[in-house]
Symmetry: C2
């Protein structure tokens, strides 16, 4: 891992860009962390729209994490942002767009082609990021995962023992295979659902929530579209991490 930017101070948080091989990423640490004990880490998941575009929202979530005493980090998803295009992913997105514009139901084959390769490729990258981040002196553990793509969060919750709690954003399509993996997840979960999310299937999200094997799982459904998560819902997710990471 190489830091590629000077540290930038933004409120109570220090932001540093890094690369992990070819993968760009961003690390945010609370100002107080450098002078005190190592802090827990929250991995900030996000949709595959590119880190540059997502930066304002990610930085806002990182400031919240820092206020609660946590570091936060994210990496670019395969095929997104400044990473090389990924023809299969572009094709799957085009197929999805075509189906939605035609008003057709989005079939399982389209969802599988769109999401499963992304999960298969991204999850080992997030794990590699953990390998690189956790040895930093200002970062300890435990680790939480926050956000979408929810299928990436499900797979990470299942296969990565360093992640002890996850706040998942039910805002993307979920392949049948991921629904099956969800049954084996046992870590505490906090699932956010935007009830009127125009890009989401509410029943699929409820089915996924029902499937999780975790003894502690909470579903928080709020009004508004995909990007309309109310401030108090963010506060509740923050309290979830405070309960489980400290």
């Amino acid at each position: 891992m190489h830091f590629t930017s000077e540290p930038r101070l933004d409120g109570g948080v220090i932001e540093r860009e890094f690369t992990l091989g070819e993968i760009p990423g961003i690390l945010w640490t609370p100002v107080s962390a450098s002078a005190s004990a190592p802090v827990p880490l929250i991995l900030l998941g996000h949709p595959p729209l590119g880190l540059r575009k997502m930066h304002p929202r990610l930085a806002g979530r990182a400031r919240q994490a820092a206020a609660d005493g946590f570091a936060a980090a994210t990496i670019e998803l395969p095929g997104s942002g400044e990473r090389p295009r990924w023809a299969a992913l572009d094709q799957a997105r085009a197929d999805l767009r075509r189906a939605m514009e035609a008003g057709e139901p989005v079939g399982d084959d389209i969802i599988d082609a769109l999401v499963l390769p992304l999960v298969d490729k991204a999850v080992p990258e997030w794990q590699a990021a953990l390998d690189a981040l956790l040895p930093l002196p200002e970062i300890g553990g435990p680790v939480g995962y926050s956000g979408g793509v929810i299928s990436i969060g499900v797979r990470l919750a299942l296969v990565e023992p360093r992640i002890v709690a996850a706040a998942l954003f039910a805002g993307s399509f979920v392949p049948r295979a991921i629904l099956e993996e969800a049954r084996q997840v046992t870590i505490p979960l906090h699932v956010l659902l935007q009830w009127d999310d125009e890009g989401n299937n509410r029943q699929a999200a409820l089915d996924l929530f029902d499937a999780f094997g975790s003894e502690e799982k909470s579903l928080h459904a709020n009004m508004g579209g995909h990007t309309g998560v109310p401030q108090f819902a963010g506060d509740a997710a923050a309290q979830f991490f405070t309960r489980h990471l400290t």
Copy 2:
């Protein structure tokens, strides 16, 4: 309204029993309230099991309310506790029990007979309690409604303008007529659903949540049975009232 007990100090709260005509009730005020400005009021809804039986849970919720700076009050439901038996309600309960023990689906007629007369009779009583409680010097406003019977909460949210926010517990049957009333409710709502509530119909609860006309409504679903609401879910409901009553 007549106070029928000496004030009892329990932690940070003063508990006083009262009667309103033939209806027994309990008022809890924060110790600090008597010496300071009037405080908002939370009406504590509860299932028709009798105030004596419900007292430990109600007193716990009142202590939470007092810690947040709110008074809390409750009244006995018609046909419950020490109030006169109500033959029609007893009959409806017997019909429900018979249907459930026979493994039959609980039909709309049984639900209507069980819930609608209770709502029709209880709601004016809660309003009369508000008439009696709000003039007390230690109680100001605004007013919130918290708990079940959820159909009573829906009707109160619709017809009682002094109630500005409601945290409703989705743990009882909901008549079709109440579902229609829910569409006209506009105050902020916080709906608690126990995902595996053995005495509840999850889909009916989701349909009710969907029906509410409120611009701000949140569904918090958690694991566990009817009485297994986790502490952090109570905390979230408390924060909802702090947002809307202060």
